[in-house]
Amino acid sequence: MKPSIYLFGVLALAAVAGCKKDNYPAPGDMLTGHLLYKTDTIQVERNQVPFQIYQYGFGKVGPVSSTFSQDGTLSAVLFDGTYKIIVPNGQGPFMWKQTAGGNPDTVNVTLKGNQNIDLQVTPYYMIRNANITISGSTASATCKLEKIITDANAKDVERVSLYINKDQFVSGGDNIAKKDLAAADITDMNNISLSVAVPTMTPTQNYVYARIGLKIAGLEDMIFSPLQKISF
């Protein structure tokens, strides 16, 4: 019976060696970050605003693409190394720095272990002082629009919208009720108010999540006010 013991030994060795040979350790560095304007986070729609991570030096170059979450955070698990991050042209409710050639400028990140980065961008507008309340079955919101970019790149407001939803994903696609206020109906950018009826929900719940969104003419991504949970 001795040969079979040797055989087991050989097999076990082969198995152990095999594990080492063709398997790499999984990437372990967590890259996290925020879209910021000065100290304010930029709120966007989930799965809509993409970013791309490039790494050079390994032959063919292609991006790792992902999207910001709705509170403007990014996260990616990567290997140690040097990376370049961009937001492609035309994406996001903000201006990403560009090179003289019109390409998106890169943010360099040298990753060794977990790292948090802040991506500074210039939004066209910010929604300030957003306040959403519910009385009876009506949600009312007030806010102020601050125009940040006022030079030749400035863009107009297309509409302001109030969205409410049963869960915390709140946007043009994810909502149970919405109210649009077209730009033509805005008389005072410092004093905007909107209201919408809260529909009956099944199963009943005594809270909703709400955000105010701003659609900027000529851009497809909206900018939002911070998420609010409102109980009633």
């Binding site: 292609g62 492609p88 994406q91 696609g173 000529g218 497809e220």
Partner: protein, 639 residues
């Protein structure tokens, strides 16, 4: 010993004789398993087989036979114009947008095809043995196929590298065969220029439909010029969808020139210069006439189509989409269900729009004696495109109704099509839902309340898996040429001509009150194409070139009000397919309504997603692999 000697001598002699053959002759053996280029291009029939292969590999966004990833029916099933009634395909109505790579053609597949056409052209023109007439016609056909392919590429990608001869891999410098993208307008100019250059070498013969004819080339030119024109004109509304080098986007100043070219090409076909074509008008029931246009291969309306033949290439569109209750093949049916979004768009015979009346002014249901009464007095193309409840297929009625509605408004139905149950107050079980559905989530029966009729083959056995259908897929037909002419005339400021062209198409559908010049608006143009060319693979490219796609598929859920309002208005959003479910009234206490039909707009429960078309979807992504292999390819905008 003697015997041995003589054998040895014979062997030596044989060997010696064989050895006398020259080495070059000995080694130069004609292969028996394939034909050489010279052999192929010495015989017109053999050369035609090479061409046939190229014909067979043309690209269409929607096609009846489809490919292994996308069976034919599914290539028609998106954009909320229909509901996909197959569990494995629910993702079409559950996604909230399309990846940037959607609608792309694999880059290497595309350029392999281009290379093979280029090789064909080079070999054909080098051939000395083919008769002149054959060689010229083959050459023109090859150029037609290449132009068609570039047209398909430019519709998806905008400008692509324009490669017009076969390339050889260089030994050293790979950059000599890396080409940058041409401008979008260059590719359209190429397609238009090729059509003009080859049309004289193609037969002006309306019976030539599956091979390139003169009219096919001109129809291609007409459509390409119209696309280029509208991209030039309406591209101005979406400045974000362009690249500074013109790889994407066409300057607005070119619009009028392209519209004029489109109009001239259309006029050439209409005038009969390219052969006698006309609208299919064989009398009888107008809806049947419209449906037969897609069945009758001899129709004078079809200009160029993808043909199918028993014993050769067949497709399973009928197998997949025939009505379940009348299916030739148990377990295969009903996948492509037109949506109410589309059905509501069919006009009344007085040229006005009105939603199908399901409720009266005070929101009470309207009761109909017959199932089809609600659809009465509509554009004949409705019943010609869509198989309505109680509609006839192979002489039998389909059985589409969702259940019984009782006097108190409650519903008696079942989760299994055709089930029987006892109604309240009775003991005898009766059928409580149609054998064709609709039942939410029950695949292969309709879930929108409609089946597709266009392209469905009424021939016996065409719905069997083993037999298949031979209905042709029409790529160019006369009605589209008329609509192209109408659009180009309208954009060039001649709404009177536009009305004349459009009224011909409408009269064939029973809309005999002509539209006046003042009635022709952009909305009318958009609407007429959506109706006439429904399920023919036009909607995506039309919405793209008018830059309406991001408005129509705007990523917000569609409500019943959205479905019933703004009918015939271009750019009205339509992001989720709705259905119209008929219910039979069971209310013995009220003889005025008992046994009648009511209808409810219903969004199929599976339709949980909503279409969102991003700026980055206007031009399909060139894969990262292709860009990495050729850094001269610049990325699409907004991706």
């Amino acid at each position: 010993m003697k015997k041995l000697l003589s054998i040895a001598t014979i062997v030596a002699v044989v060997l010696g004789m064989a050895g006398c053959k020259k080495d070059s002759d000995f080694l130069n053996v004609q292969p028996t398993t394939f034909l050489t280029t010279d052999q192929v291009f010495s015989d017109p029939n053999l050369a035609l087989t090479v061409l046939a292969d190229l014909y067979n590999r043309q690209e269409d966004i929607s096609s009846l036979d489809g490919n292994s990833n996308d069976p034919g029916w599914r290539s028609f099933a998106d954009f909320s114009e229909s509901f996909p009634s197959e569990n494995g395909s629910s993702y079409i109505v559950q996604r909230t947008g399309w990846p940037y790579s959607q609608w792309s053609i694999d880059w290497s597949t595309a350029y392999t095809y281009i290379r093979e056409v280029n090789l064909f052209l080079e070999r054909d023109s080098a051939s000395t043995q083919l008769a002149d007439a054959d060689r010229k016609r083959f050459y023109a056909e090859g150029r037609f196929l290449r132009a068609m392919y570039y047209f398909e590429l430019v519709k998806r990608y905008g400008g692509v590298p324009l490669i017009l001869h076969s390339l050889t891999l260089p030994s050293k410098d790979i950059t000599t065969i890396q080409f940058a993208r041409a401008r979008e307008s260059d590719i359209y100019d190429f397609v238009i220029g090729e059509a003009e250059a080859i049309k004289g070498d193609l037969p002006a013969d309306p019976a030539t439909k599956s091979r390139a004819s003169r009219a096919a080339a001109v129809a291609m030119e007409c459509r390409a010029a119209l696309y280029a024109a509208s991209i030039a004109k309406y591209g101005a509304t979406t400045p974000a969808v362009s690249l500074p080098g013109g790889e994407v986007g066409i300057p607005a100043s070119k619009a009028n020139d392209y519209y004029t070219r489109a109009l001239n090409a259309a006029k050439e076909i209409i005038a009969g210069t390219d052969g006698t074509y006309g609208l299919y008008n064989n009398g009888g029931n107008l809806s049947d006439n419209y449906a037969n246009l897609f069945i009758d291969k001899a129709s004078a309306e079809s200009i160029y189509f993808e043909d199918f033949k028993t014993g050769g290439k067949v497709h399973s569109f009928t197998t997949n989409d025939q009505p379940y209750s009348l299916s030739d093949e148990g377990g295969d049916a009903g996948r492509l269900d037109p949506s109410l979004n589309l059905v509501e768009q069919y006009e009344k015979l007085d040229n006005t729009f009105a939603p199908l009346a399901t409720v009266d002014g005070t929101n009470n249901p309207i009761y109909y004696t017959n199932l089809q009464d609600i659809f009465a007095g509509r554009d004949a193309r409705l019943a010609g495109t869509v198989l309505l409840p109680d509609g006839l297929y192979k002489g039998k009625k389909v059985d589409i109704w969702a259940g019984y509605v009782l006097g108190d408004g409650s519903i008696v139905t079942s989760d299994e099509a055709g089930h029987t149950k006892a109604l309240p107050g009775t003991t005898t079980p009766v059928q409580v839902v149609g054998t064709d559905g609709p039942v939410n989530g029950l695949e292969l029966r309709t879930q929108s309340g409609f089946y597709i009729r266009k392209y469905i083959d009424p021939a016996v056995g065409s719905g069997r898996r083993g037999q298949g259908s031979t209905v042709a897929f029409i790529r160019y037909r006369y009605a589209e040429v008329l609509l192209n002419a109408a659009e180009a005339s309208f954009e060039l400021g001649h709404p009177d001509d536009a009305a004349t062209y459009m009224n011909q198409v409408r009269a064939r559908a029973g809309l005999t009150t002509p539209l006046a010049a003042s009635d022709i608006t952009f909305d009318r143009i958009v609407h007429e194409r959506r109706i006439e060319l429904a399920f023919e693979g036009h909607i995506l490219f039309d919405m793209k070139r008018w830059r309406l796609a991001h408005k129509v598929w705007d990523g917000t859920p569609t409500s019943v009000t959205d479905i019933k309002t703004n009918l015939g208005v271009a750019g009205t959003h339509s992001t989720q397919p709705w259905g119209l479910w008929p219910y039979k009234v069971y209310n013995p206490g009220d003889p005025t309504t008992n046994g009648k039909w009511i209808f409810r707009e219903t969004r199929p429960a599976l339709a949980t997603g909503y279409n969102k078309f991003l700026f980055g979807n206007y031009y399909s992504q060139i894969s990262n692999d292709a860009i990495a292999a050729n850094p001269k390819l610049i990325r699409q905008p907004n991706q």
